[in-house]
Amino acid sequence: MTARVLPLLLGAFPSAAWACPSCADPKDPTQAAFLGPTIFMSLLPLAMMAGIFSYLWWAMRRPMST
């Protein structure tokens, strides 16, 4: 029973289990350096898509020139 439950519990706390395959050491002080670009690279495409769609929306609503 313990052998089955314990891994599941550890899965809920990956930093305690050192279970993150890409982050390696959870106490690594450079983890913030990974976090910043991850957030940046995740939000940048969305922001640019929002920019293009906003431009198209604005272009559709502007009065037609003759």
Binding site: T30, A32, A33, F34, G36, P37, F40, M41, L44, P45, M48, M49, I52, Y55, L56, A59, M60, M64, S65
Partner: protein, 198 residues
């Protein structure tokens, strides 16, 4: 149908006879989108490598110093070329020939910028800073070199634009697409300069 009924009929919206956005402009916007992601990926890698520097010193000690002050001057030249292209866009509305002078000035300014980049790279390689020296130097040449390649392409497109204007064959959407690419190349550089040189 009575006159009163006709009066309350909805007035149909006039049909759009022109595309919302010209294909050249939309295509260039999507292309610039992919280019932004390309440079963002390199900057992210640079940032992570900087944080993982073993010595905690960045750039690594012993490497030749990057010429930040001189490059700042050429940065001003590149930004001025962006202003010149902006003015060319405004003049183009009056007549395409009126845009020739600011476009030529922009081409000269951008050529000065690229010329300095090449001179700087040759000098740094002579001082021992090569792609293999460190992760810092590798990223430096990758980021700055990629931007310089974009500048060369932008100058080539500007030469094409000048030739088309000379023949009176440049359409307004094509010129707008050229300007978008130029603004991208100019607008990107201050970010790269801030990250890599400062």
């Amino acid at each position: 149908m009575s006159v009163a009924e006709i009066a309350v009929l909805p007035v149909p919206r006039p049909r759009r006879t022109k595309p919302v956005v010209e294909s050249a402009v939309l295509g260039m916007l999507i292309f610039v989108y992919t280019e932004v992601m390309f440079f963002a990926a390199m900057l992210s890698g640079y940032h992570i490598d900087q944080a993982r520097s073993i010595t905690g010193v960045w750039p690594p000690p012993g490497e030749p110093a990057l010429p930040a002050a001189a490059t700042a001057v050429t940065t001003v030249a590149l930004i001025a070329s962006g202003v010149a292209v902006f003015l060319a866009g405004r003049r183009f509305r009056e007549s395409s020939a009126a845009a020739l002078l600011p476009l030529r000035i922009a081409a000269v300014l951008a050529s000065l910028f690229v010329g300095w980049q090449v001179y700087e790279a040759v000098k740094l390689v002579g001082e021992g800073l090569t792609l293999q020296t460190s992760a810092h130097s590798g990223f430096f040449y990758m980021i700055v070199g990629s931007h310089a390649v974009h500048c060369v392409v932008a100058i080539g497109i500007l030469a094409w634009t000048l030739a088309r204007i000379g023949r009176g064959a440049l359409s307004a959407p094509a010129f707008q697409a050229v300007r978008i690419f130029w603004y991208f190349v100019v607008g990107l550089w201050p970010f790269l300069y801030g990250v890599v040189y400062l």
